[in-house]
Amino acid sequence: MIRLTWLQFRVQALIAVVAMAITALVLAVTGARLAHLYSTSVATCTVQGDCDTATNAFRLHDQFLQNMLGPLLLVVPGLIGIFWGAPLIAREVQAGTFRLAWTQSVSRRRWLAVKLGSLGLASAIVAGLLSLIVTWWFSPLDRVNANRFSPGVFDERGIVIIGYAVFAFVLGVTAGVLLRRTLPAMAMSLALFVGVRLAVTYLIRPHLVSPAHTSVPVTSATGLGFGSSGSSGVVTFIAKTPRIPNAWVISSQIVEKSGHLASTAVLHQFLMTACPDIANQQAGANQGTFGACVAKVSANYHLVLAYQPANRYWTFQWYETAIFVFLAFALAGLCFWWVSNRLT
Protein backbone atom coordinates (compact mmCIF):
# COMPACT_ATOMS: atom_id res chain seq x y z
CA MET A 1 0.00 0.00 0.00
CA ILE A 2 2.92 2.31 0.81
CA ARG A 3 4.39 1.50 -2.59
CA LEU A 4 1.13 2.29 -4.39
CA THR A 5 0.88 5.55 -2.47
CA TRP A 6 4.40 6.44 -3.54
CA LEU A 7 3.71 5.47 -7.14
CA GLN A 8 0.75 7.83 -7.28
CA PHE A 9 2.46 10.58 -5.31
CA ARG A 10 5.93 10.60 -6.84
CA VAL A 11 5.35 13.44 -9.31
CA GLN A 12 3.98 15.75 -6.63
CA ALA A 13 6.77 14.68 -4.30
CA LEU A 14 9.38 15.44 -6.94
CA ILE A 15 7.94 18.91 -7.53
CA ALA A 16 8.02 19.58 -3.80
CA VAL A 17 11.60 18.35 -3.45
CA VAL A 18 12.81 20.50 -6.36
CA ALA A 19 10.99 23.58 -5.06
CA MET A 20 12.39 22.99 -1.58
CA ALA A 21 15.91 22.53 -2.92
CA ILE A 22 15.78 25.80 -4.88
CA THR A 23 14.38 27.66 -1.89
CA ALA A 24 16.97 26.18 0.43
CA LEU A 25 19.80 27.10 -1.95
CA VAL A 26 18.68 30.72 -2.33
CA LEU A 27 18.13 31.09 1.39
CA ALA A 28 21.41 29.44 2.33
CA VAL A 29 23.38 31.93 0.23
CA THR A 30 21.44 35.04 1.21
CA GLY A 31 20.93 33.92 4.80
CA ALA A 32 24.65 33.43 5.38
CA ARG A 33 25.27 36.91 3.98
CA LEU A 34 22.58 38.33 6.26
CA ALA A 35 24.05 36.64 9.33
CA HIS A 36 27.51 37.95 8.44
CA LEU A 37 26.12 41.45 7.99
CA TYR A 38 24.43 41.22 11.38
CA SER A 39 27.60 40.20 13.16
CA THR A 40 29.61 42.97 11.50
CA SER A 41 27.10 45.81 11.84
CA VAL A 42 24.40 45.38 14.47
CA ALA A 43 26.27 43.11 16.86
CA THR A 44 29.15 45.57 17.09
CA CYS A 45 27.10 48.78 16.98
CA THR A 46 27.60 49.58 20.66
CA VAL A 47 31.34 49.74 20.02
CA GLN A 48 30.83 52.05 17.10
CA GLY A 49 28.26 54.00 19.10
CA ASP A 50 25.39 54.31 16.62
CA CYS A 51 22.96 51.46 17.00
CA ASP A 52 19.88 53.14 15.53
CA THR A 53 21.54 53.74 12.18
CA ALA A 54 23.01 50.25 12.12
CA THR A 55 19.74 48.48 12.91
CA ASN A 56 17.68 50.64 10.57
CA ALA A 57 20.12 49.99 7.75
CA PHE A 58 20.15 46.30 8.56
CA ARG A 59 16.37 46.06 8.42
CA LEU A 60 16.44 47.24 4.81
CA HIS A 61 18.62 44.39 3.60
CA ASP A 62 17.11 41.72 1.34
CA GLN A 63 13.78 43.52 1.35
CA PHE A 64 12.59 41.49 -1.59
CA LEU A 65 13.23 38.17 0.12
CA GLN A 66 11.78 39.45 3.37
CA ASN A 67 8.60 40.34 1.54
CA MET A 68 8.49 37.03 -0.32
CA LEU A 69 9.30 34.61 2.46
CA GLY A 70 6.50 35.60 4.80
CA PRO A 71 3.78 35.01 2.22
CA LEU A 72 5.58 31.84 1.13
CA LEU A 73 5.03 30.28 4.54
CA LEU A 74 1.44 31.49 4.54
CA VAL A 75 0.85 29.98 1.12
CA VAL A 76 2.69 26.64 1.33
CA PRO A 77 0.20 24.96 3.72
CA GLY A 78 -2.60 26.17 1.46
CA LEU A 79 -0.85 24.73 -1.58
CA ILE A 80 -0.38 21.42 0.21
CA GLY A 81 -4.10 21.34 0.93
CA ILE A 82 -4.97 22.17 -2.67
CA PHE A 83 -2.52 19.99 -4.56
CA TRP A 84 -1.91 17.10 -2.20
CA GLY A 85 -5.08 16.96 -0.12
CA ALA A 86 -8.01 17.80 -2.36
CA PRO A 87 -7.16 15.46 -5.28
CA LEU A 88 -6.12 12.51 -3.09
CA ILE A 89 -9.54 10.86 -3.07
CA ALA A 90 -11.61 13.21 -5.25
CA ARG A 91 -9.47 12.27 -8.26
CA GLU A 92 -10.06 8.55 -7.65
CA VAL A 93 -13.78 9.12 -7.30
CA GLN A 94 -13.93 11.29 -10.41
CA ALA A 95 -11.96 8.87 -12.57
CA GLY A 96 -13.78 5.85 -11.14
CA THR A 97 -10.46 4.27 -10.13
CA PHE A 98 -11.66 3.89 -6.53
CA ARG A 99 -13.65 0.95 -7.90
CA LEU A 100 -10.35 -0.59 -8.90
CA ALA A 101 -8.52 0.37 -5.70
CA TRP A 102 -11.20 -0.75 -3.28
CA THR A 103 -11.68 -4.16 -4.82
CA GLN A 104 -8.07 -5.25 -4.32
CA SER A 105 -7.19 -7.35 -1.28
CA VAL A 106 -6.75 -4.27 0.93
CA SER A 107 -9.46 -2.91 3.16
CA ARG A 108 -10.72 0.57 2.44
CA ARG A 109 -9.69 1.73 5.90
CA ARG A 110 -6.14 0.58 5.42
CA TRP A 111 -6.01 2.16 1.98
CA LEU A 112 -7.11 5.47 3.48
CA ALA A 113 -4.92 5.13 6.57
CA VAL A 114 -1.76 4.64 4.52
CA LYS A 115 -2.60 7.46 2.12
CA LEU A 116 -3.55 9.92 4.86
CA GLY A 117 -0.68 8.85 7.09
CA SER A 118 2.12 9.00 4.56
CA LEU A 119 1.04 12.17 2.78
CA GLY A 120 0.20 13.81 6.10
CA LEU A 121 3.69 12.98 7.27
CA ALA A 122 5.14 14.33 4.02
CA SER A 123 3.18 17.56 4.57
CA ALA A 124 4.58 17.87 8.07
CA ILE A 125 8.14 17.25 6.88
CA VAL A 126 7.95 19.75 4.02
CA ALA A 127 6.41 22.41 6.26
CA GLY A 128 8.86 21.67 9.07
CA LEU A 129 11.94 21.88 6.85
CA LEU A 130 10.73 25.02 5.14
CA SER A 131 9.95 26.66 8.46
CA LEU A 132 13.34 25.64 9.80
CA ILE A 133 15.13 27.29 6.88
CA VAL A 134 13.00 30.43 6.96
CA THR A 135 13.24 30.76 10.75
CA TRP A 136 17.01 30.49 10.48
CA TRP A 137 17.11 33.01 7.63
CA PHE A 138 15.05 35.51 9.57
CA SER A 139 16.80 35.00 12.91
CA PRO A 140 19.10 38.08 12.72
CA LEU A 141 16.21 40.25 11.55
CA ASP A 142 13.95 38.88 14.26
CA ARG A 143 16.62 39.72 16.83
CA VAL A 144 16.61 43.30 15.58
CA ASN A 145 12.84 43.60 15.25
CA ALA A 146 12.07 41.83 18.53
CA ASN A 147 8.46 41.25 17.49
CA ARG A 148 8.03 37.52 17.35
CA PHE A 149 4.45 37.57 18.61
CA SER A 150 3.13 39.79 15.82
CA PRO A 151 0.81 38.21 13.30
CA GLY A 152 2.93 37.76 10.18
CA VAL A 153 5.91 36.78 12.30
CA PHE A 154 4.49 34.38 14.86
CA ASP A 155 2.69 32.36 12.19
CA GLU A 156 5.55 32.39 9.71
CA ARG A 157 8.16 30.81 11.97
CA GLY A 158 8.54 27.84 14.26
CA ILE A 159 6.43 24.73 14.53
CA VAL A 160 2.98 26.22 13.86
CA ILE A 161 3.65 25.84 10.12
CA ILE A 162 3.64 22.08 10.64
CA GLY A 163 0.23 22.28 12.26
CA TYR A 164 -1.09 24.48 9.45
CA ALA A 165 0.24 22.14 6.75
CA VAL A 166 -1.13 18.95 8.30
CA PHE A 167 -4.47 20.62 8.87
CA ALA A 168 -4.62 22.03 5.34
CA PHE A 169 -3.77 18.62 3.90
CA VAL A 170 -6.47 16.74 5.80
CA LEU A 171 -8.92 19.57 5.12
CA GLY A 172 -8.25 19.15 1.39
CA VAL A 173 -8.75 15.40 1.62
CA THR A 174 -12.00 15.86 3.54
CA ALA A 175 -13.31 18.40 1.05
CA GLY A 176 -12.48 15.93 -1.72
CA VAL A 177 -14.27 13.11 0.08
CA LEU A 178 -17.38 15.19 0.69
CA LEU A 179 -17.54 16.99 -2.67
CA ARG A 180 -16.21 14.11 -4.78
CA ARG A 181 -14.74 16.54 -7.33
CA THR A 182 -11.23 17.88 -7.37
CA LEU A 183 -11.76 21.50 -8.41
CA PRO A 184 -14.59 22.36 -6.02
CA ALA A 185 -12.65 20.55 -3.29
CA MET A 186 -9.59 22.69 -4.00
CA ALA A 187 -11.63 25.89 -3.82
CA MET A 188 -13.48 24.85 -0.70
CA SER A 189 -10.40 23.68 1.16
CA LEU A 190 -8.57 26.92 0.40
CA ALA A 191 -11.49 29.07 1.54
CA LEU A 192 -11.94 27.07 4.74
CA PHE A 193 -8.22 27.04 5.46
CA VAL A 194 -7.98 30.83 5.20
CA GLY A 195 -11.11 31.18 7.33
CA VAL A 196 -9.86 28.89 10.08
CA ARG A 197 -6.42 30.50 10.10
CA LEU A 198 -7.92 33.98 10.48
CA ALA A 199 -10.33 32.79 13.15
CA VAL A 200 -7.55 31.20 15.19
CA THR A 201 -5.25 34.18 14.76
CA TYR A 202 -7.73 36.82 15.84
CA LEU A 203 -10.32 34.99 17.94
CA ILE A 204 -8.53 32.11 19.64
CA ARG A 205 -4.84 32.94 19.93
CA PRO A 206 -5.43 36.00 22.20
CA HIS A 207 -7.28 33.76 24.67
CA LEU A 208 -4.96 30.76 24.79
CA VAL A 209 -3.22 31.85 27.98
CA SER A 210 -4.54 34.54 30.33
CA PRO A 211 -2.20 37.50 30.06
CA ALA A 212 0.29 38.64 32.68
CA HIS A 213 0.01 42.17 34.11
CA THR A 214 2.65 44.72 34.94
CA SER A 215 2.66 48.39 35.77
CA VAL A 216 5.03 50.80 34.15
CA PRO A 217 5.41 54.58 34.36
CA VAL A 218 3.26 56.50 31.91
CA THR A 219 6.45 57.85 30.40
CA SER A 220 7.52 54.43 29.13
CA ALA A 221 5.17 54.86 26.19
CA THR A 222 6.70 56.64 23.23
CA GLY A 223 3.59 58.49 22.19
CA LEU A 224 2.53 60.82 24.99
CA GLY A 225 0.24 63.78 24.74
CA PHE A 226 -2.88 65.60 25.62
CA GLY A 227 -5.97 65.76 23.56
CA SER A 228 -9.60 64.87 23.39
CA SER A 229 -10.23 61.20 23.12
CA GLY A 230 -13.40 59.25 22.59
CA SER A 231 -16.82 60.81 22.35
CA SER A 232 -16.58 63.01 25.46
CA GLY A 233 -14.56 65.65 23.63
CA VAL A 234 -12.84 66.78 26.84
CA VAL A 235 -9.06 67.08 27.03
CA THR A 236 -7.34 64.16 28.68
CA PHE A 237 -3.94 62.50 28.93
CA ILE A 238 -3.07 60.03 26.17
CA ALA A 239 -0.34 57.37 26.34
CA LYS A 240 0.19 54.96 23.47
CA THR A 241 0.79 51.30 24.21
CA PRO A 242 4.43 50.87 25.11
CA ARG A 243 6.55 48.18 23.44
CA ILE A 244 8.18 45.33 25.31
CA PRO A 245 10.75 43.46 23.20
CA ASN A 246 9.39 40.15 21.89
CA ALA A 247 6.37 40.33 24.16
CA TRP A 248 2.79 40.64 23.02
CA VAL A 249 1.22 43.66 24.67
CA ILE A 250 -2.52 43.20 24.53
CA SER A 251 -3.76 46.29 26.33
CA SER A 252 -2.45 49.29 28.20
CA GLN A 253 -4.56 51.32 30.59
CA ILE A 254 -3.97 54.41 32.68
CA VAL A 255 -4.49 53.55 36.34
CA GLU A 256 -4.63 55.66 39.50
CA LYS A 257 -2.23 55.09 42.39
CA SER A 258 -5.03 53.32 44.21
CA GLY A 259 -5.19 50.83 41.39
CA HIS A 260 -8.47 52.05 39.97
CA LEU A 261 -8.89 52.52 36.27
CA ALA A 262 -8.64 56.23 35.51
CA SER A 263 -11.70 57.27 33.55
CA THR A 264 -11.59 60.08 31.01
CA ALA A 265 -13.59 62.27 33.36
CA VAL A 266 -11.22 61.68 36.27
CA LEU A 267 -8.18 62.41 34.12
CA HIS A 268 -9.76 65.55 32.76
CA GLN A 269 -10.57 66.68 36.29
CA PHE A 270 -6.97 66.05 37.33
CA LEU A 271 -5.64 68.07 34.40
CA MET A 272 -8.03 70.94 35.15
CA THR A 273 -6.44 71.33 38.56
CA ALA A 274 -2.84 70.25 37.83
CA CYS A 275 -2.23 71.94 34.50
CA PRO A 276 -5.21 74.15 33.56
CA ASP A 277 -3.37 75.69 30.57
CA ILE A 278 -3.32 72.40 28.80
CA ALA A 279 -6.74 71.28 29.98
CA ASN A 280 -8.31 74.45 28.59
CA GLN A 281 -6.30 74.13 25.38
CA GLN A 282 -4.87 77.59 25.78
CA ALA A 283 -2.33 78.83 23.30
CA GLY A 284 0.23 79.47 26.04
CA ALA A 285 1.06 75.79 26.45
CA ASN A 286 4.66 75.15 25.44
CA GLN A 287 7.37 72.53 25.86
CA GLY A 288 7.97 73.58 29.45
CA THR A 289 4.37 73.39 30.57
CA PHE A 290 4.01 70.12 28.62
CA GLY A 291 6.98 68.55 30.48
CA ALA A 292 5.76 69.81 33.85
CA CYS A 293 2.30 68.44 33.22
CA VAL A 294 3.61 65.02 32.13
CA ALA A 295 5.67 64.92 35.35
CA LYS A 296 2.56 65.66 37.41
CA VAL A 297 0.58 62.99 35.59
CA SER A 298 3.30 60.37 36.02
CA ALA A 299 3.54 61.14 39.73
CA ASN A 300 -0.11 60.24 40.18
CA TYR A 301 -0.84 57.69 37.44
CA HIS A 302 0.83 54.72 35.86
CA LEU A 303 0.13 52.30 33.03
CA VAL A 304 -1.03 48.76 33.63
CA LEU A 305 -0.18 46.43 30.76
CA ALA A 306 -1.84 43.13 29.99
CA TYR A 307 0.73 41.19 27.99
CA GLN A 308 2.15 37.84 27.05
CA PRO A 309 5.80 37.79 28.11
CA ALA A 310 8.44 36.84 25.56
CA ASN A 311 9.16 33.57 27.35
CA ARG A 312 5.67 32.33 26.54
CA TYR A 313 6.48 32.26 22.83
CA TRP A 314 6.94 28.49 22.66
CA THR A 315 3.89 27.85 24.82
CA PHE A 316 1.85 29.70 22.23
CA GLN A 317 3.60 27.91 19.38
CA TRP A 318 2.82 24.52 20.92
CA TYR A 319 -0.77 25.41 21.74
CA GLU A 320 -1.50 26.68 18.26
CA THR A 321 0.20 23.69 16.65
CA ALA A 322 -1.81 21.38 18.90
CA ILE A 323 -5.06 23.09 17.89
CA PHE A 324 -4.40 22.55 14.20
CA VAL A 325 -3.16 19.00 14.64
CA PHE A 326 -6.24 18.22 16.71
CA LEU A 327 -8.48 19.68 13.98
CA ALA A 328 -6.59 17.58 11.43
CA PHE A 329 -7.21 14.41 13.42
CA ALA A 330 -10.88 15.26 13.86
CA LEU A 331 -11.23 15.73 10.10
CA ALA A 332 -9.31 12.52 9.47
CA GLY A 333 -11.86 10.73 11.66
CA LEU A 334 -14.64 12.21 9.56
CA CYS A 335 -12.84 11.02 6.41
CA PHE A 336 -12.59 7.48 7.75
CA TRP A 337 -16.22 7.40 8.71
CA TRP A 338 -17.35 8.86 5.41
CA VAL A 339 -15.18 6.63 3.26
CA SER A 340 -16.26 3.54 5.19
CA ASN A 341 -19.95 4.28 5.37
CA ARG A 342 -21.09 6.98 3.02
CA LEU A 343 -18.88 7.31 -0.04
CA THR A 344 -20.50 5.91 -3.21
Binding site: T103, Q104, T344
Partner: protein, 297 residues
Protein backbone atom coordinates in the same frame (compact mmCIF):
# COMPACT_ATOMS: atom_id res chain seq x y z
CA UNK B 1 -26.66 -25.50 -3.75
CA UNK B 2 -24.11 -23.15 -2.19
CA UNK B 3 -24.75 -19.85 -3.90
CA UNK B 4 -21.77 -17.63 -4.69
CA UNK B 5 -24.09 -14.67 -4.52
CA UNK B 6 -27.25 -14.56 -2.51
CA UNK B 7 -29.45 -11.49 -2.21
CA UNK B 8 -32.48 -11.25 0.00
CA UNK B 9 -34.87 -8.32 -0.23
CA UNK B 10 -31.86 -6.28 -1.27
CA UNK B 11 -32.38 -2.56 -1.83
CA UNK B 12 -30.28 0.52 -2.47
CA UNK B 13 -31.70 4.01 -2.30
CA UNK B 14 -30.14 7.27 -3.44
CA UNK B 15 -32.05 10.07 -1.81
CA UNK B 16 -35.62 9.27 -2.71
CA UNK B 17 -34.86 7.10 -5.70
CA UNK B 18 -34.47 3.37 -5.31
CA UNK B 19 -31.81 2.13 -7.71
CA UNK B 20 -32.58 -1.40 -6.58
CA UNK B 21 -35.39 -2.62 -4.40
CA UNK B 22 -36.52 -5.93 -2.99
CA UNK B 23 -34.12 -7.89 -5.08
CA UNK B 24 -33.94 -11.56 -4.20
CA UNK B 25 -31.74 -13.92 -6.16
CA UNK B 26 -29.22 -16.70 -5.82
CA UNK B 27 -26.38 -17.34 -8.21
CA UNK B 28 -25.05 -20.90 -8.27
CA UNK B 29 -21.31 -21.58 -8.23
CA UNK B 30 -19.27 -22.87 -11.14
CA UNK B 31 -21.29 -21.03 -13.75
CA UNK B 32 -20.77 -18.17 -16.10
CA UNK B 33 -23.84 -16.15 -15.28
CA UNK B 34 -25.20 -13.54 -17.60
CA UNK B 35 -27.14 -10.75 -15.93
CA UNK B 36 -29.27 -9.01 -18.51
CA UNK B 37 -31.78 -6.26 -18.24
CA UNK B 38 -32.61 -2.86 -19.65
CA UNK B 39 -30.67 0.20 -18.60
CA UNK B 40 -31.72 1.27 -15.14
CA UNK B 41 -32.77 -2.21 -14.07
CA UNK B 42 -30.29 -2.09 -11.21
CA UNK B 43 -27.65 -4.43 -12.64
CA UNK B 44 -24.74 -2.17 -11.87
CA UNK B 45 -26.09 -1.36 -8.41
CA UNK B 46 -26.50 -5.04 -7.65
CA UNK B 47 -22.94 -5.85 -8.72
CA UNK B 48 -21.45 -2.94 -6.80
CA UNK B 49 -23.33 -4.12 -3.74
CA UNK B 50 -21.84 -7.55 -4.34
CA UNK B 51 -18.26 -6.25 -4.19
CA UNK B 52 -18.93 -3.95 -1.25
CA UNK B 53 -18.48 -0.69 -3.15
CA UNK B 54 -22.02 0.13 -2.11
CA UNK B 55 -23.71 -0.67 1.15
CA UNK B 56 -27.30 -1.90 1.03
CA UNK B 57 -30.10 0.34 2.26
CA UNK B 58 -32.33 -2.66 2.84
CA UNK B 59 -32.07 -6.44 2.83
CA UNK B 60 -28.96 -8.57 2.83
CA UNK B 61 -26.41 -9.75 0.34
CA UNK B 62 -23.85 -12.51 0.83
CA UNK B 63 -21.00 -13.31 -1.48
CA UNK B 64 -19.08 -16.56 -1.07
CA UNK B 65 -20.95 -17.03 2.18
CA UNK B 66 -19.89 -13.72 3.73
CA UNK B 67 -20.67 -10.03 3.74
CA UNK B 68 -19.16 -8.33 0.65
CA UNK B 69 -15.68 -6.95 1.28
CA UNK B 70 -15.86 -8.42 4.79
CA UNK B 71 -12.07 -8.63 5.08
CA UNK B 72 -8.95 -8.23 2.94
CA UNK B 73 -8.93 -11.99 2.58
CA UNK B 74 -12.52 -11.92 1.32
CA UNK B 75 -11.71 -9.05 -1.04
CA UNK B 76 -8.99 -11.26 -2.48
CA UNK B 77 -11.47 -13.99 -3.29
CA UNK B 78 -13.62 -11.75 -5.48
CA UNK B 79 -12.38 -10.17 -8.69
CA UNK B 80 -14.16 -7.13 -10.07
CA UNK B 81 -14.09 -5.27 -13.37
CA UNK B 82 -16.07 -2.07 -13.00
CA UNK B 83 -18.17 -0.39 -15.63
CA UNK B 84 -16.03 1.56 -18.13
CA UNK B 85 -13.05 -0.51 -16.88
CA UNK B 86 -11.26 2.22 -14.89
CA UNK B 87 -7.45 2.16 -14.77
CA UNK B 88 -4.92 4.73 -13.57
CA UNK B 89 -4.29 6.89 -16.63
CA UNK B 90 -0.89 8.14 -15.54
CA UNK B 91 0.47 4.71 -14.60
CA UNK B 92 1.98 2.35 -17.14
CA UNK B 93 0.77 -1.16 -17.90
CA UNK B 94 3.75 -2.56 -15.97
CA UNK B 95 2.91 -0.27 -13.03
CA UNK B 96 -0.58 -1.72 -12.94
CA UNK B 97 0.79 -5.24 -12.72
CA UNK B 98 3.14 -4.13 -9.95
CA UNK B 99 0.26 -2.56 -8.04
CA UNK B 100 -1.75 -5.74 -8.48
CA UNK B 101 1.12 -7.76 -7.01
CA UNK B 102 1.54 -5.35 -4.08
CA UNK B 103 -2.11 -5.31 -3.14
CA UNK B 104 -3.02 -8.96 -3.63
CA UNK B 105 -1.30 -11.76 -1.71
CA UNK B 106 -2.62 -14.32 -4.18
CA UNK B 107 -1.25 -12.47 -7.23
CA UNK B 108 -0.28 -14.74 -10.12
CA UNK B 109 2.66 -12.94 -11.71
CA UNK B 110 3.07 -15.44 -14.54
CA UNK B 111 -0.57 -15.31 -15.46
CA UNK B 112 -0.56 -11.53 -15.58
CA UNK B 113 2.62 -11.39 -17.63
CA UNK B 114 1.40 -14.06 -20.01
CA UNK B 115 -1.85 -12.23 -20.64
CA UNK B 116 -0.10 -8.93 -21.27
CA UNK B 117 2.27 -10.66 -23.70
CA UNK B 118 -0.58 -12.41 -25.49
CA UNK B 119 -2.49 -9.17 -25.82
CA UNK B 120 0.60 -7.48 -27.22
CA UNK B 121 0.39 -4.64 -24.70
CA UNK B 122 3.52 -2.56 -24.29
CA UNK B 123 4.41 -2.67 -20.56
CA UNK B 124 5.82 0.87 -20.75
CA UNK B 125 2.65 2.27 -22.27
CA UNK B 126 0.65 4.61 -20.07
CA UNK B 127 -2.81 3.25 -19.38
CA UNK B 128 -4.33 6.56 -20.43
CA UNK B 129 -3.02 6.02 -23.94
CA UNK B 130 -4.52 2.54 -24.36
CA UNK B 131 -7.50 1.93 -26.60
CA UNK B 132 -10.80 1.10 -24.94
CA UNK B 133 -10.35 -2.58 -25.72
CA UNK B 134 -6.80 -2.68 -24.39
CA UNK B 135 -7.87 -0.86 -21.25
CA UNK B 136 -10.66 -3.37 -20.67
CA UNK B 137 -8.18 -6.19 -21.16
CA UNK B 138 -5.81 -4.61 -18.65
CA UNK B 139 -8.64 -4.28 -16.13
CA UNK B 140 -9.61 -7.90 -16.73
CA UNK B 141 -5.99 -8.99 -16.29
CA UNK B 142 -5.85 -7.23 -12.92
CA UNK B 143 -9.06 -8.93 -11.84
CA UNK B 144 -7.99 -12.38 -13.04
CA UNK B 145 -4.38 -12.36 -11.83
CA UNK B 146 -5.42 -11.98 -8.22
CA UNK B 147 -6.82 -15.48 -8.72
CA UNK B 148 -10.34 -14.92 -7.42
CA UNK B 149 -12.88 -17.65 -6.88
CA UNK B 150 -15.61 -15.37 -8.11
CA UNK B 151 -15.28 -12.85 -10.90
CA UNK B 152 -17.79 -10.02 -11.24
CA UNK B 153 -17.87 -7.95 -14.42
CA UNK B 154 -20.07 -4.89 -14.71
CA UNK B 155 -20.83 -4.21 -18.39
CA UNK B 156 -17.18 -4.69 -19.28
CA UNK B 157 -17.74 -4.66 -23.02
CA UNK B 158 -20.46 -2.03 -23.27
CA UNK B 159 -18.20 0.59 -24.79
CA UNK B 160 -16.08 -1.69 -26.97
CA UNK B 161 -16.22 -2.19 -30.70
CA UNK B 162 -17.32 -5.65 -31.91
CA UNK B 163 -13.79 -6.98 -32.42
CA UNK B 164 -12.51 -5.81 -29.04
CA UNK B 165 -15.70 -7.18 -27.52
CA UNK B 166 -15.08 -10.58 -29.02
CA UNK B 167 -11.44 -10.62 -27.90
CA UNK B 168 -12.39 -9.60 -24.38
CA UNK B 169 -15.00 -12.31 -24.04
CA UNK B 170 -12.59 -14.83 -25.52
CA UNK B 171 -10.03 -13.93 -22.87
CA UNK B 172 -12.69 -14.34 -20.24
CA UNK B 173 -13.65 -17.77 -21.58
CA UNK B 174 -10.05 -18.93 -21.50
CA UNK B 175 -9.76 -17.94 -17.86
CA UNK B 176 -12.93 -19.74 -16.98
CA UNK B 177 -11.76 -22.84 -18.79
CA UNK B 178 -8.34 -22.69 -17.17
CA UNK B 179 -9.18 -21.76 -13.60
CA UNK B 180 -12.83 -22.68 -13.24
CA UNK B 181 -13.91 -19.46 -11.56
CA UNK B 182 -17.53 -18.53 -11.09
CA UNK B 183 -18.45 -15.49 -13.14
CA UNK B 184 -21.22 -12.94 -13.19
CA UNK B 185 -21.26 -10.75 -16.25
CA UNK B 186 -23.79 -8.01 -16.75
CA UNK B 187 -24.78 -6.71 -20.13
CA UNK B 188 -27.73 -5.25 -21.88
CA UNK B 189 -26.81 -7.14 -25.03
CA UNK B 190 -28.07 -10.67 -25.26
CA UNK B 191 -25.57 -11.59 -27.96
CA UNK B 192 -22.67 -11.17 -25.52
CA UNK B 193 -24.38 -13.28 -22.92
CA UNK B 194 -25.21 -15.97 -25.45
CA UNK B 195 -21.59 -16.19 -26.50
CA UNK B 196 -20.10 -16.86 -23.08
CA UNK B 197 -22.70 -17.61 -20.47
CA UNK B 198 -24.32 -20.83 -19.40
CA UNK B 199 -26.71 -19.36 -16.86
CA UNK B 200 -29.06 -16.44 -17.33
CA UNK B 201 -30.64 -13.95 -14.96
CA UNK B 202 -33.08 -11.43 -16.39
CA UNK B 203 -33.42 -8.40 -14.16
CA UNK B 204 -36.08 -5.80 -14.86
CA UNK B 205 -36.85 -3.00 -12.41
CA UNK B 206 -34.95 -4.74 -9.58
CA UNK B 207 -36.94 -7.95 -10.03
CA UNK B 208 -35.57 -11.21 -11.25
CA UNK B 209 -37.90 -12.12 -14.10
CA UNK B 210 -36.32 -15.48 -14.78
CA UNK B 211 -33.14 -17.23 -13.82
CA UNK B 212 -31.75 -20.57 -14.87
CA UNK B 213 -29.28 -22.49 -17.03
CA UNK B 214 -29.57 -21.20 -20.56
CA UNK B 215 -29.97 -24.71 -22.03
CA UNK B 216 -32.85 -25.46 -19.67
CA UNK B 217 -34.47 -22.14 -20.40
CA UNK B 218 -34.29 -22.74 -24.12
CA UNK B 219 -35.59 -26.28 -23.71
CA UNK B 220 -38.62 -25.19 -21.71
CA UNK B 221 -39.80 -22.20 -23.71
CA UNK B 222 -41.68 -22.47 -26.96
CA UNK B 223 -43.54 -20.32 -29.37
CA UNK B 224 -46.94 -21.80 -30.19
CA UNK B 225 -48.88 -20.70 -33.23
CA UNK B 226 -52.32 -21.97 -34.03
CA UNK B 227 -55.98 -21.10 -34.55
CA UNK B 228 -57.34 -18.57 -32.12
CA UNK B 229 -58.38 -20.08 -28.84
CA UNK B 230 -59.32 -19.17 -25.33
CA UNK B 231 -56.13 -18.92 -23.30
CA UNK B 232 -57.85 -20.33 -20.25
CA UNK B 233 -58.11 -23.69 -21.94
CA UNK B 234 -54.36 -24.24 -21.91
CA UNK B 235 -52.99 -26.99 -19.64
CA UNK B 236 -52.01 -25.75 -16.17
CA UNK B 237 -48.41 -26.74 -16.77
CA UNK B 238 -48.04 -24.15 -19.51
CA UNK B 239 -47.35 -20.63 -18.35
CA UNK B 240 -47.98 -17.88 -20.86
CA UNK B 241 -45.17 -15.39 -21.02
CA UNK B 242 -46.35 -13.46 -24.00
CA UNK B 243 -49.40 -13.71 -26.19
CA UNK B 244 -50.77 -12.00 -29.24
CA UNK B 245 -54.13 -12.71 -30.73
CA UNK B 246 -55.64 -11.86 -34.06
CA UNK B 247 -59.16 -12.72 -35.17
CA UNK B 248 -58.15 -16.08 -36.37
CA UNK B 249 -54.79 -16.82 -34.84
CA UNK B 250 -53.10 -17.08 -31.46
CA UNK B 251 -49.36 -16.75 -31.01
CA UNK B 252 -48.12 -17.66 -27.56
CA UNK B 253 -44.80 -17.81 -25.86
CA UNK B 254 -45.12 -20.41 -23.14
CA UNK B 255 -42.94 -21.98 -20.56
CA UNK B 256 -43.52 -25.62 -19.81
CA UNK B 257 -41.53 -28.51 -18.49
CA UNK B 258 -43.65 -31.11 -20.21
CA UNK B 259 -44.01 -31.88 -23.90
CA UNK B 260 -46.56 -30.01 -25.97
CA UNK B 261 -49.04 -32.58 -27.18
CA UNK B 262 -51.80 -30.41 -28.58
CA UNK B 263 -51.64 -31.02 -32.35
CA UNK B 264 -53.37 -27.70 -33.07
CA UNK B 265 -50.16 -25.82 -32.25
CA UNK B 266 -47.21 -25.27 -34.47
CA UNK B 267 -44.31 -25.45 -32.01
CA UNK B 268 -41.13 -23.45 -32.52
CA UNK B 269 -37.90 -23.25 -30.52
CA UNK B 270 -36.91 -19.82 -29.24
CA UNK B 271 -33.57 -18.17 -29.38
CA UNK B 272 -32.22 -16.47 -26.28
CA UNK B 273 -32.96 -12.99 -27.49
CA UNK B 274 -36.66 -13.78 -28.04
CA UNK B 275 -36.81 -15.26 -24.60
CA UNK B 276 -35.16 -12.30 -22.87
CA UNK B 277 -37.27 -9.80 -24.78
CA UNK B 278 -40.43 -11.67 -23.90
CA UNK B 279 -39.64 -11.49 -20.19
CA UNK B 280 -38.62 -7.86 -20.43
CA UNK B 281 -41.79 -7.09 -22.34
CA UNK B 282 -43.90 -8.84 -19.75
CA UNK B 283 -42.25 -6.90 -16.95
CA UNK B 284 -42.68 -3.64 -18.82
CA UNK B 285 -46.35 -4.38 -19.31
CA UNK B 286 -46.61 -4.29 -15.55
CA UNK B 287 -47.53 -7.90 -15.18
CA UNK B 288 -45.59 -8.51 -12.06
CA UNK B 289 -45.66 -12.25 -11.95
CA UNK B 290 -43.80 -13.89 -9.12
CA UNK B 291 -40.13 -14.28 -9.93
CA UNK B 292 -39.50 -17.74 -11.14
CA UNK B 293 -36.29 -19.51 -10.31
CA UNK B 294 -35.44 -22.53 -12.36
CA UNK B 295 -33.41 -24.91 -10.28
CA UNK B 296 -30.07 -26.06 -11.54
CA UNK B 297 -30.17 -29.73 -12.25
Amino acid sequence: MNAVLEANGLGKRYGRRWALSECTLAIPPGQVVGLVGPNGAGKSTLLQLAVGLLAPTAGTIRVLGDRPAASPEHLGRVGFVAQDTPVYESLSVADHLRVGAWLNPGWDRDLAQRRIDQLGLDPAQRAGKLSGGQRAQLALTLAIAKRPEFLILDEPVASLDPLARRQFLQGLMETVAEHGVSVVLSSHLVADIERVCDYLVVLVASRVQIAGPIDDLLASHFRLTGPRRDLNTLPASQEIIESSQTDRQSTLLVRTDGPIVDPAWTVEQLDLEDLVLAYMGRAAAGERARPRIVEVH
